[in-house]
Symmetry: C2
Subunit: 500 residues, 2 copies
């Protein structure tokens, strides 16, 4: 055969592969959605340890049924287990670790249009959508339908796609091209406090040639996406103290320090109006982008105008594109609360102000160094840092009192976009999609990629599948069905076509 004939044959084989996966999916849409629905019903959020444990048992059984060797790896009796599974393929040279998390963000049910843990199918995004009785609908389903529920997309959709893709390959008698390992984490949304320990204690078991991370959304253009890193994260709760009791702001306003105003000033000092963190030394460790990374960003489909229309914003915070912005570190104000507003507002100086912040880190910032910068900045501005609420003596000794509660956090990672495995994955993803794939050097959101990279010394590459407009981390989280279908295609390809 000539090279051209080989290429044509390979292309035909790939089309055939994709068609067969799609036919399998078409014949099993109801069962696949039912599996995701079932998984979403588990209350696997940090506030509900028994819900997390039940989900882990369910997933372990799902893997065992499919012939995986399974273990629940945990850091202690009452910590959420990591569901580990492995399946050896004959003749495979490489081992791929498929990572996702099965826990979800906390919920504020009053903000949801329906119960976060009783999935509801809707015809489109929640406003103006109608509910669909999909259990009695005739497949094929409208691919624009969305399943609403906490973690339905982040990351339970990835897990559902993986299992459906595996089932499709088995039904088609298509052997895996790689050894398959699975690591499904149960406390990613809580900051992965025990993941390092679990990885350390199971380093041999968890060895592979690449970690493939199923967390995060695809590109906002709808194009399939691969990402090569993610920003790190570090949360901080800051409480600023005013007078020991609320005081009439007519009699004492201008003289008694106002903690709401102090908190506002502090935020404005830490971050300018372009979203640039202005804390001294904060940006010192920021690693410059490589030319390949800059090129990848340039090649991304333009989506800024679309996002602005979707989010209802006239302008971005700074002058950069979305993709360039998220290559920088961020200081996000997640919340601020002091005194009362609206009808309940009284003419009083509040007793304190609470500010909830998360920092997003980029390589090579470390959480320790960032904490040091923030604390040094506060001390230089005259703040006394507390680790417990002040007593009267502390209040009388120092004028600016701030209680700092740091949350667990972790650094960022950017993997090399040009390594052999990265190239193989890009190639395979393009085949599965039969089209272009967006390449993002680093996600804006955080997943603890550095933990895998640090310990295993292998590339860590992201292969998300869910829609970007999924209300991730907010109320009315949802998964668009077409993204689940595309996810099955790409995960099937990674299990049956990937090699390098």
């Amino acid at each position: 055969m000539t090279l051209a004939v080989t290429a044509r044959a390979a292309a035909a084989d790939e089309r055939e592969f994709r068609d067969r996966i799609d036919r399998y999916r078409l014949a099993h849409e109801a069962a696949i959605v039912r599996a995701l629905d079932e998984l979403t019903r588990f209350r696997s959020v940090a506030a509900d340890p028994s819900g997390v444990a039940a989900a882990a048992d369910f997933l372990a059984a799902a893997l065992r049924t499919r012939g995986f060797e399974v273990r629940l790896l945990s850091a202690g009796a009452h910590t959420p287990p990591l569901v580990y599974g492995e399946l050896h393929a004959s003749h495979a040279r490489r081992t791929v670790m498929f990572y996702a998390h099965y826990d979800g963000q906390p919920v504020t049910p009053s903000q949801w249009s329906s119960d976060p843990f009783i999935p509801v199918m809707r015809s489109a995004a929640v406003n103006g959508a109608h509910e669909i009785d999909w259990q009695h609908a005739q497949p094929p389903f409208d691919p624009e339908w969305r399943l609403y529920g906490r973690a339905a997309s982040d990351d339970k959709a990835t897990i559902a796609a993986f299992l459906a893709a595996f089932d499709a390959l088995r039904a088609l008698h298509r052997p895996p091209s790689v050894n398959i390992k699975v690591a499904w984490e149960g406390e990613e949304e809580a900051g992965s406090p025990h993941l390092a320990q679990i990885l350390d204690e199971n380093q041999r078991l968890l060895g592979s040639d690449v970690w493939l991370i199923g967390d995060g959304p695809v590109h906002q253009s709808g194009r399939p996406m691969i990402y090569f890193g993610a920003r790190g994260v570090l949360g901080l709760r800051l409480t600023i103290y005013g007078p020991v009791k609320a005081l009439h702001d007519g009699h004492y306003g201008n003289w008694v320090p106002n903690p709401a105003a102090m908190a506002a000033t502090l935020i404005a000092q830490m971050r300018n109006q372009d979203g640039v963190v202005t804390i001294p030394d904060f940006n010192d460790a920021v690693r410059a982008l490589t030319s390949a990374e800059r090129e990848a960003i340039r090649d991304l489909p333009p989506i800024d105008d679309q996002l602005k229309r979707e989010f209802g914003i006239a302008q971005a915070e700074g002058s950069e594109t979305w993709a360039s912005s998220i290559m920088r570190p961020a200081l996000n104000v997640r919340g601020i609360r002091s005194g009362m507003t609206g009808e309940e507002a009284a003419n009083a100086i509040p007793v304190d102000a609470e500010v909830s912040i998360d920092f997003r880190l980029v390589p090579d910032q470390t959480t320790d160094e960032l904490r040091r910068c923030v604390e040094q900045f506060l001390r230089n501005r005259g703040w006394t840092l507390l680790d417990a609420p002040p007593d009267m003596a502390a209040r009388l000794a120092d004028a600016r009192l701030a209680l700092l509660e740091w949350e667990p956090g972790y650094p960022a990672l950017r993997s090399d976009m040009s390594s052999p495995v990265a190239s193989a994955i890009i190639r395979t993803a393009r085949r599965a999609a039969a089209g272009p794939v967006a390449l993002l050097p680093m996600m804006g959101g955080s997943v603890p990629l550095y933990l895998f990279a640090q310990r295993f010394g292998v590339p860590v590459i992201g292969l998300p599948i869910v829609n970007h407009d999924n209300n991730q981390h907010a109320a009315n989280e949802n998964l668009r069905l077409q993204n689940l279908w595309d996810g099955i295609d790409v995960y099937a390809a990674m299990m049956a076509l990937l090699d390098w």
Copy 2:
């Protein structure tokens, strides 16, 4: 008689007068406290119009019983009435109007140690105090006891003192030295939205030679106080808009504008860390203090260190004394709310931020001019001002959207401290107290003094009686009994000794 003999005789008469009032009070302590307790039980707050109406009827009856001609003056069927009463004294040359308000600030019952409308007597300030069954206690009561309840001090204590003083004079057959008028307002804590109309419609009825205002606390040193004005007030609710839905702050933080950070920046731009309002033109109309006013401030007993200890603050906001600080205009942040804090915080960019502000005005600032300054400042900073929440078109058209909701407000007033009536009142108060009286050119808190001054062209002078540490406008408002007793002394003197 020589002058010295006359003076001695007058002094003896004054001592005798005070002693007789005190003896009356000692014999009637339980009944006087019971009257205040009864008055405090009326839920006369803006949120409860029927509670306000019931309190007005009760007060009207209390005046009628004492021989007053009484009218309820209101601006319409469903607005809180002003309770008006008058009593002519034979041979009196002057008419004194006694003003107070019988409505209270809104309550947040969860913040109170007991029901705001079921008064409780405690041995001292609320922490560490024990409850006292005063109804079964043997008078005389401990003068350090405090009665807890909304409006128990602000201003129902003034009303109770006035009525008890009047009863004492009648029991002692002491005729009034002035014609007495009473104006007890029912919506002062709501910003007195109808007071101007009521005054306009009853201008002849309400004529007098001086308005004596029973609102506010005495000096923090405990010394009796007269004030000659009060800062004005203007409330503003500001809502700042972010994205139309909450967005993952990892994926979009740094690019999607964060309304909490925008609100913080805005506050920091409007007000510096010394509490000085930095809005351009805002301070242009501020009238300088006269030398008499500066002298009065210098002569006040020093109380700053005492206040700091009481409030648990190490430093004041600026470098001035408390009394000097409140001669300046203020921008108070009453509350701020955006996103979630604490355990409920999610990694999301909030959809909006609410800021509740009140401005405290000084002469000759006007509310119109102040509104203009604030709005011009916002426009100059690129804000688009809204009077309703933005629709999608408005969101896409302008980057900085702020909904402004101005509350009703009014300007400040400072009366001449050297007028004949001011001198007579100072003299009479010193006699009632048998000691020095603190003279404050202007209270920090707001009462609508300007309304009286503007219409009636007579001095408006404040004669407060309640303890400064009364938790006014906050939870656990309370009245210290000794302040009620002192209030009876001074109000009796104003009714029976005042003349000029």
